[in-house]
Assembly symmetry: C2
């Protein structure tokens, strides 16, 4: 059985959990308290030298780190993986976009404010810069959703799961989704998928 080393409030871990649940793949969750330093112990660094969750342990094979590598591994050949090559390319495009523009901005701001309890004053210009980049990513997402129901092809895929993870909790980092009606409607479509579960559920 797969073992997922994870921290439940993590949007990156949530991507893996959403895929495991959607595909009804049994797994054992091993909680890692990243705030208590549990992802930086020698034992954990043997699993992922980069000291980050989530990590998937594949029996008889080893460990896979990086949320998008984990979900690609789990979902290849499933209904979450577009059958057509060009749609798969667009899926990868959105996953890369998420990793570069959404997670490091919307995800990081949420982590600073909601998990680490830092204040706006303390963060200063760093916060302003990340908020600006986060809103630019939301602008682009809103723009792209004007002509599509899901992000890659016309079916729910890993692209939706990857982008949804931090977008739907953007408000926890102080982002206002009110000016993004298409993003909100698309989030609702993700939440209505079979076996969808809220973040922070093992």
């Amino acid at each position: 059985m797969y073992r997922l080393y994870d921290y439940l409030p993590s949007g990156n871990g949530y991507k893996a959990r959403l895929v495991l649940k959607h595909l009804q793949i049994p797994y054992e969750l091993v909680p890692v308290d990243i705030k208590a330093g549990e992802s930086r112990t020698p034992e954990f660094l043997d699993k992922n030298p980069n000291g980050r969750i989530p990590v998937l342990e594949v029996p008889g094979k080893g460990f896979v780190a990086e949320s998008h590598a984990i979900i690609a591994f789990l979902a290849e050949g499933s209904d979450l993986f577009p059958a057509e090559a060009f749609d798969r390319a667009r899926m990868w495009q959105w996953m890369c976009f998420e990793q570069y523009h959404i997670e490091p901005n919307i995800g990081t701001v949420r982590f600073w404010l909601a998990s680490l309890g830092k204040t706006r004053a303390e963060l200063g210009d760093k916060l302003i810069e990340k908020k600006k980049s986060g809103y630019a990513a939301l602008d682009l997402l809103e723009h792209e959703l004007r002509e599509r129901t899901y992000l890659a092809g016309e079916r729910y895929s890993l692209a939706d799961i990857a982008v949804f993870a931090y977008t739907h909790i953007a408000h926890e980092g102080g982002f206002d989704l009110a000016p993004y009606p298409r993003v909100r409607a698309w989030c609702d479509r993700v939440c209505s998928q079979p076996r969808w579960r809220p973040i922070s559920e093992a």
Copy 2:
């Protein structure tokens, strides 16, 4: 024929060019002068609303942005794509690592210093932070290469191309590769691949 919208000094564009050349796929290169704002024109934004190169035009289908999405699309099923699922997962892991830890640090510092001609004094703390993160990425790469010849499985793959692109020109951003003998030996192995070509070649 594929059309690649690209800026020759770009390491991200280079990833796509290395794959196209390795796989002997004919393509037309359309130069985009990003320093002259050519990736922010309305015409270019129709191709990639994110205003970045490289972009691959796929005849009869449309446009693919994001270097790793482009190279995945081009290389699926080829010798650059590991045949075994776990090796593919490790390939994705390295591509994600590159996008999160190498490109935004080593790639960005090179862009600031070598392309935009900014000075160290001007960049201040931002530069110090990115140098620190870039060296941490190199430390991890050196560590991982202690027990492998290539990054995913035991064959040259997209993982090597993706990580190589900015690593081998790290010195242009002022990074010193002298303390990284395994990284340098691995760069030499990449350069010795069939049809390998230097960056900035169309």
